[in-house]
């Protein structure tokens, strides 16, 4: 807004949180899993923390034949089940007073007309000032229909100006990964979205990668003097980035088949973590400065010349995992028993910059692995062993900095230390840093940060389209190679750390995966 600066805002006054201005949030796919379990509870948590304005409204858009009241009743049970802050009747009454439901399909013109009327009614009764955010919690194939209809019915236009301030109401859109299934489709999808919304108004979200994680990583790397001088090819032997889940596909079979671990996780999440680990220091925390560095380092990632020897893939088989009998991927219900979709993927990448010349980055992601963990391990070269001859057989002196993304965010440092009481025995010990074990419970959840950023118009730390394109450029050759194979992905036992080929991938280079 072009009002004179607010005298109550003082740069030095760092206690004041920013409350978003008036606006309404429209959820497409509001009856889906994500909206029920995460999005609506996050909206409530924001309200409970006093970060939402009084003039705030939520519109659910879906096929169910619900009245506004039925929607409120449903949302109430979702919030009670999913919110992390205590349920407060007063807060809920205030918040849910702005809840509306619009029944319709994604290509139902009449429904969009009704949506327009509801939004207008909210502007009049709740003072939402014409500001609108559209959250597309729907399959990507429906994006085109929804974006097209929003634009056709004038819902995405910033049509008018406030005669007094010259301010225009905002329009923003949130889309979820996956952003396409290869480079070509990502471009198509982007054209659809950006033909309706301005690039700055598009928020691409990767729900695995919270802003908190990004900021933790930046703080560890750049707020310390200790790590950055060692963060290069002279000292780093290799980097391992792991995202392991201990669960299988469960109810997501329909979504997962044909997508696979690489598209689901490596393309977005792991390559983002790689970029944040490997990038140069950004000149500021501005979204633009950060994205510039991430884009640079992603552009420098080399697709291996010989793909076959730089990747591994697998499918979990049935068996016992942690005392529980689990079904194999191909036996999961409603599944194509011939499916070649991988549930585990590992790739080896190199980055052609002076800093990372010759340092391999190993990325792996999979389901039904040993335990649920996401971490980045920067493994250093071994110390020259001149002094500790007697230890020559022992494995020590390979320092590693491990950044745990989840669960319990923190970092560990592996250092060699003398075994107490012995002559001069040395072994590696792990130092564990975390800012309190319960810290994460009270720190804002990723979706809260995201929704607040969208309402505040904070430029997202999430990838812009150029980064998405770079990621597909890196992954596409692997996908093409896998698509050309006739055999099934290699089976691996549930609760293990992937198929033999994954271990071979590192063994070829004389290395091994850490046990996370």
């Amino acid at each position: 807004m072009s009002l004179s600066p607010n005298p109550l805002r003082d740069r030095q006054d760092r206690r004041l949180a920013r409350i978003s201005g008036p606006g309404s949030l429209v959820f497409f796919g509001v009856t889906g899993d994500l909206a029920r379990k995460k999005l609506l509870p996050a909206v409530y948590d924001l309200a409970h923390r006093g970060l939402l304005p009084a003039s705030f409204a939520v519109v659910g858009f879906g096929r169910r034949d619900w009245s506004h009241e039925e929607f409120v009743a449903q949302a109430r049970s979702w919030v009670r089940a999913g919110a992390r802050t205590p349920f407060d009747e007063d807060v809920w009454t205030q918040l849910s007073g702005g809840f509306r439901f619009v029944t319709g399909g994604f290509d139902d013109d009449a429904a969009y007309e009704r949506l327009g009327e509801v939004l207008q009614e909210l502007d009049d009764t709740r003072g939402t000032a014409g500001n609108r955010a559209f959250y597309l919690s729907i399959p990507p194939k429906a994006f085109e229909a929804v974006c097209g209809k929003l634009s056709e019915h004038g819902l995405a236009e910033q049509a008018w100006e406030d005669p007094e301030t010259g301010a225009r109401p905002w329009r923003r859109v949130v889309i979820e990964k996956p952003f396409g299934h290869d480079l070509a489709s990502a471009r198509e999808l982007n054209e659809v979205v950006e033909s309706v919304f301005r690039p700055d108004d598009v928020f691409r979200i990767d729900h695995y990668l919270g802003k908190e994680t990004v900021q933790n990583l930046l703080a560890l790397r750049f707020a310390n003097r200790l790590f950055e001088p060692l963060w290069n090819a002279q000292h780093v032997d290799h980097v391992q980035i792991t995202m392991a889940e201990d669960i299988g596909i469960g109810g997501r079979a329909g979504y997962y088949d044909g997508v696979g671990a690489a598209r689901d996780v490596i393309q977005n999440h792991l390559l983002q973590l790689l970029a944040l680990t490997a990038m140069e220091e950004p000149i500021s925390f501005d979204a633009d400065a950060l994205r510039a560095e991430k884009e640079k380092v992603l552009s420098a990632v080399q697709v291996p010349a010989h793909i076959a020897s730089a990747c591994a893939r697998g499918q979990y088989s049935g068996g016992w995992q942690g005392g529980e009998k689990v079904t194999g991927y191909l036996e999961e219900e409603g599944f194509d028993p011939e499916s070649t979709t991988e549930t585990f993927a590992a790739v080896r990448l190199e980055i052609a910059t002076r800093r990372w010349d010759g340092v391999p980055f190993y990325l792996r992601a999979g389901k039904r692995l040993g335990r649920r963990v996401t971490e980045i391990a920067v493994v250093f070269k071994k110390a020259p062993n001149l002094l500790f001859h007697d230890n020559s057989g022992a494995d020590f002196g390979q320092n590693a900095v491990v950044i745990r993304v989840q669960p319990d965010e923190g970092a560990t440092l592996r250092v060699a230390s003398k075994v107490p009481g012995t002559q001069m025995e040395v072994r590696d010990v792990t130092m564990d840093f975390s800012y309190g074990s319960s810290f994460t419970e009270s720190s804002p959840e990723a979706y809260e940060r995201l929704i607040l950023d969208v309402l505040l118009g904070e430029p997202p730390l999430f990838p812009r389209h150029a980064e998405v394109e770079q990621s597909w450029r890196i992954l596409d050759p692997f996908e093409e190679y896998w698509a050309g194979l006739s055999e099934q992905p290699e089976p691996y036992a549930p609760g293990s750390w992937g198929p033999d080929s994954a271990h071979l991938l590192l063994a070829k280079d004389g290395r091994m995966w850490r046990r996370p």
């Binding site: 807004m1 009002l3 004179s4 607010n6 005298p7 109550l8 805002r9 003082d10 030095q12 006054d13 760092r14 206690r15 004041l16 949180a17 920013r18 409350i19 201005g21 008036p22 309200a47 409970h48 923390r49 006093g50 939402l52 304005p53 009084a54 003039s55 407060d88 007063d90 807060v91 009454t93 205030q94 007073g97 009764t125 709740r126 003072g127 130092m431 564990d432 840093f433 975390s434 800012y435 309190g436 074990s437 319960s438 810290f439 419970e441 009270s442």
Partner: protein, 313 residues
């Protein structure tokens, strides 16, 4: 686990901590500060539970010094609590009497965490000169609670006279959500047409006084104080404007009413802040709160705190 150490010394307590660590009762790492709580007998359990809850967000070592009778025989009884009830932090309670009743650096230096900053909190009563007091001198951050003093406004004036960077008061922390809401209102309406501001609240409350002083300091219009009784010290704020008044009230509960010109009354969540929440906010940043300093040393003396009668909305 609780270890009682009757009639003891700080070095005995330090030895006990090393012993507890060896035996695995005490996680040794990831503490970000030492929180010293200087309190009076009978108040220690409340202060301790608030400190422990704040420690869930900011892992710290908590040293509670319970200042007993200065005329009693000189003696120190200690208690160390770790794990279980102590939560994320270890808690050391020192009950001191006689010549030890005015605790200083020498009493606790053996128990402070190396390198980490020291924060001292006085939950019951404001010391004469906060930053010059024996515990104040060794603390990077000094947290008082003027509202807990017998004469809150005098305590606040005394704080203002001796304020040093690093001093803060919980009466100010209790205002953060009010200040956030007011700032958000001005984001929307600006100061154009603003004629006058009225703060409604208990006139002997330091929070009411600080809110008025802050608004007086930041806004170019007169700020008045109107007496209004209620469960919380601050009841509401009215912004009298040419284009219609804006008013935010919280008569009771955790939800405030927002009256905007030409619009139906709206409601916003404005929870009453509990002690642990306020303490956790204080521990979040240990840099000097210069805005509080200006409000206390410039805003407060310049602000007329005589209550006025105010018209109905």
């Amino acid at each position: 686990m609780n270890v009682e150490l009757p009639d003891t010394t700080a070095s005995q307590v330090a030895k006990t901590l090393v012993m507890l660590r060896r035996e695995g009762h005490l996680g040794g790492n990831s503490r970000v500060l030492t929180l010293v709580v200087s309190t009076l007998p009978g108040h220690e359990e409340d202060a301790m539970s608030a400190a422990q809850e704040a420690a869930r967000e900011h892992p710290c070592r908590v040293i509670v010094v319970v200042r007993g009778d200065a005329d009693a025989p000189t003696r120190m009884d200690a208690e160390v609590r770790v794990g279980g009830t102590a939560g994320a932090s270890e808690v050391i309670i020192l009950r001191v009497t006689g010549e030890l009743a005015e605790p200083d650096e020498s009493l606790i230096s053996a128990l402070l965490l190396p390198d980490d900053p020291v924060v001292t909190w006085w939950p019951s009563g404001v010391p004469q000169r906060v930053s010059a007091s024996p515990l104040g001198q060794i603390s990077q951050r000094r947290i008082t609670d003027s509202a807990a003093s017998p004469d809150p406004l005098r305590a606040l004036t005394r704080l203002a006279e001796t304020w040093q960077p690093g001093d803060t008061d919980l009466a100010w922390t209790r205002l953060t959500l009010w200040r956030t809401q007011l700032t958000s209102i001005l984001d929307q309406y600006g100061v154009r047409g603003l004629r006058e501001v009225t703060v409604f609240g208990a006139v002997n409350s330091p929070s009411t006084a600080l809110l008025a002083a802050w608004l007086h300091l930041m806004l170019p219009v007169p700020v008045r104080l109107a007496e209004s009784e209620g469960p919380a010290p601050v009841q509401g704020v009215r912004l009298s404007r040419v284009g219609g008044d804006v008013e935010i009230d919280r008569p009771h509960g955790d939800v405030a009413q927002l009256f905007l010109p030409g619009q139906p009354v709206q409601h916003v969540a404005l929870p009453v802040r509990t002690l642990p929440v306020c303490l956790a906010e204080e521990l979040r940043r240990l840099d000097d709160d210069v805005v509080f300093g200006r409000v206390l040393t410039q805003g407060l003396p310049a602000c007329d705190l005589t209550p006025v009668m105010s018209g109905p909305r």
